[in-house]
C-alpha cells in the first residue's frame, strides 16, 4: 500500500507559499486542523486566500492567521465571531466573499468531483446572485455556481491510516470530507495514525486516494465556542 505518512507538520506543509489558495476544514472551531494552522503561523506565509466555512475566533483557528495579517481573502459562509475580522473588513485590508453554506459545501464537493459548475436555488433573487447566470428548471429559478479548488487542503480527522484513509468523529466531519477531495495537495492531520489494515474498510469516510500527506497531530486543544450544558 502506498505510504502517505510524513514525519511531522513541517514536512506536511512543505511547498506552501505566499499567495496560495488554501482550504481549511471545520465548522466553527469544531474539526479544524489545529496543527496545520499553527505551522502556517510559524511559516508566516502571506497573501493567502482561505476557503473555510468560518474564520475562527479572535485568538483561535483562522483568527490567528488574521491577527498576523496573513490572509488576503476569505471565502466563507459565516464570520460573525471575530472582531479582528470585522476590523480588517471595514478598513478594506481583507477581501471577503460570502457564500450560502450549502453552496460553499457543494462548490468544494464539485471541485473535487470534476464538476465545473452546477445550479442551486440558494441565493436566487438576493445579492448573492448578482452577476451570476440564472436559469429556470421546472418552473423554479436557479443560480449557476462554480467549483472551488485549492493549492493545499488542510483537513482534520479522528483516525487515519498510513494509506491516507480517514475516519471523522461526530460533527467534526462537517467540511473536511469535501475539502479532502479538492486540494491539489491534501494534508490530513489525525488524532491517531495507525498502520494500513487496522481500520475497517467499511468504515472509511475519506478514501486514501484523496490524501497526499498524513501525520498525527502533536496535540489538540479542541476549544469549545458555546459550552452549553444541562444540570441533570
Amino acid at each position: 500500500m502506498i505510504n502517505k505518512t510524513v514525519k511531522n507538520v513541517q514536512e506536511a506543509l512543505q511547498g506552501v507559499e505566499n499567495g496560495m489558495t488554501l482550504m481549511l476544514g471545520g465548522f466553527g472551531l469544531c474539526g479544524i486542523p489545529e496543527n496545520c494552522i499553527n505551522e502556517l503561523l510559524r511559516l508566516g506565509v502571506t497573501d493567502l486566500t482561505c476557503i473555510s466555512n468560518n474564520a475562527g475566533v479572535d485568538d483561535f483557528g483562522i483568527g490567528l492567521l488574521l491577527q498576523k495579517r496573513q490572509v488576503k481573502k476569505m471565502i466563507a459562509s459565516y464570520v460573525g465571531e471575530n472582531a479582528e475580522f470585522e476590523r480588517q473588513l471595514l478598513t478594506g485590508e481583507l477581501e471577503v466573499e460570502l457564500n450560502p453554506q450549502g453552496t460553499l459545501a457543494e462548490r468544494i464537493r464539485a471541485g473535487g468531483a470534476g464538476i465545473p459548475a452546477f445550479f442551486t436555488p440558494a441565493g436566487y433573487g438576493t445579492e448573492v446572485g448578482e452577476g451570476k447566470e440564472s436559469r429556470e428548471f421546472n418552473g423554479k429559478m436557479y443560480l449557476m455556481e462554480t467549483w472551488l479548488k485549492a493549492d493545499f487542503a488542510f483537513v482534520k480527522a479522528w483516525k487515519g491510516d498510513t494509506a491516507g484513509n480517514l475516519i471523522y468523529k461526530g460533527t467534526a466531519r462537517n467540511f473536511n470530507p469535501m475539502m479532502a477531495t479538492a486540494g491539489k495537495i491534501t494534508v490530513a492531520e489525525v488524532e491517531e495514525l495507525v498502520p494500513a489494515g487496522e481500520l475497517d474498510p467499511n468504515m472509511i469516510h475519506t478514501p486514501g486516494i484523496f490524501v497526499q500527506r498524513i501525520f498525527q497531530g502533536e496535540k489538540y486543544e479542541k476549544r469549545i465556542e458555546q459550552r452549553t450544558v444541562r444540570s441533570t
Binding site: 465548522f27 466553527g28 472551531l29 469544531c30 474539526g31 466555512n53 466563507a76 459562509s77 459565516y78 464570520v79 460573525g80 465571531e81 470585522e86 473588513l89 471577503v96 460570502l98 450560502p100 453554506q101 450549502g102 453552496t103 459545501a105 457543494e106 468544494i108 464537493r109 442551486t120 436555488p121 440558494a122 441565493g123 436566487y124 433573487g125 438576493t126 445579492e127 448573492v128 479522528w158 468523529k169 461526530g170 460533527t171 467534526a172 466531519r173 462537517n174 467540511f175 473536511n176 470530507p177 469535501m178 479542541k222 476549544r223 469549545i224 465556542e225 458555546q226 459550552r227 452549553t228 450544558v229 444541562r230 444540570s231 441533570t232
Partner: protein, 218 residues
C-alpha cells in the same frame, strides 16, 4: 397580552406533526424543541451535519466534536446519524426536510424574507439561511411584529437585503398567527386580548381578515 418568546415557540410547536424532519434556526426557533407535545416523534436536523439532535449534554458528557449549527455542545439520540455538510445541504435542497422554522427581521406579503444582513452594520454572513429558505417545503417564521420604534416588520416589500423570495408559508409573531397567501397576510389567530385593529395597525403589508378571528390557544 402579546405573546412572549416562549409562547411564540409553544404556538409554533403545534405545527410540528408526528414523523417530521425539522430544522430549527437560532433564537426563538430553538425554543420550539422544548414544547413539542408528548407522543409526537420528530427528528431535528442540525445543518452542520447531524440528524437526531439530542438535548444539551451534562457536564461529563460534553464533547468538543459534537456541536449544533449554533456551535453549542449537544448530544446524539438512539437512531441519530452524522454526515458531511455537503450531504446535509443535499437533504435541505433535495426537500427531504419537512419543516424549517426560523427567525426574520422582515417578511413581505409575498412571503419574501430578510434575515441575514443589515447594511452599514457588521456583516456576519448568511450561513445556511439562504439554502434553507430556497428549498424548504414548509417554512414557519418566528418574529416580533414590530421593531423597537414601532415600525412594522410585516411589509409590502422587504427593505433589508433579501434572504429568499416567496418562501414563507406561516408567521407567528407576538401579536398573531398569519398565513402568506397570493393576496397577502391572512390573519388566522390573534394573541389573547390583542384586537384585529391592533394587528392591522402593526402590519404595513396587506392584511386579510375573514370572519371572526379566534385567540391563540396555548
Amino acid at each position: 397580552m402579546s405573546l412572549d418568546k416562549n409562547q411564540i415557540a409553544k404556538r409554533i410547536a403545534q405545527e410540528v406533526k408526528n414523523g417530521m424532519y425539522v430544522n430549527l434556526g437560532i433564537g426563538i426557533p430553538t425554543l420550539v424543541a422544548n414544547y413539542i407535545p408528548h407522543g409526537i416523534e420528530v427528528v431535528l436536523q442540525s445543518e452542520n451535519g447531524l440528524l437526531g439532535m439530542g438535548p444539551f449534554p451534562t457536564e461529563d458528557q460534553v464533547d468538543a466534536d459534537l456541536i449544533n449549527a449554533g456551535k453549542q455542545t449537544i448530544t446524539t439520540l438512539p437512531g441519530s446519524s452524522i454526515f458531511s455538510s455537503a450531504d446535509s445541504f443535499g437533504m435541505i435542497r433535495g426537500e427531504h426536510v419537512d419543516l424549517t422554522i426560523l427567525g426574520a427581521m422582515e417578511v413581505s406579503e409575498k412571503g419574501d424574507i430578510a434575515n441575514w444582513k443589515i447594511p452599514g452594520k457588521m456583516v456576519k454572513g448568511m450561513g445556511g439561511a439562504m439554502d434553507l429558505v430556497a428549498s424548504a417545503k414548509n417554512i414557519i417564521v418566528a418574529m416580533q411584529h414590530t421593531a423597537r420604534d414601532g415600525s412594522s416588520k410585516l411589509l409590502k416589500e422587504c427593505t433589508l437585503p433579501i434572504t429568499g423570495l416567496k418562501c414563507v408559508k406561516k408567521i407567528v409573531t407576538d401579536l398573531c398567527v398569519m398565513e402568506v397567501t397570493d393576496k397577502g397576510f391572512k390573519l388566522l389567530e390573534r394573541a389573547p386580548g390583542v384586537s384585529v385593529e391592533d394587528i392591522q395597525k402593526a402590519t404595513e403589508g396587506t392584511l386579510i381578515v375573514e370572519g371572526d378571528i379566534p385567540e391563540v390557544q396555548l
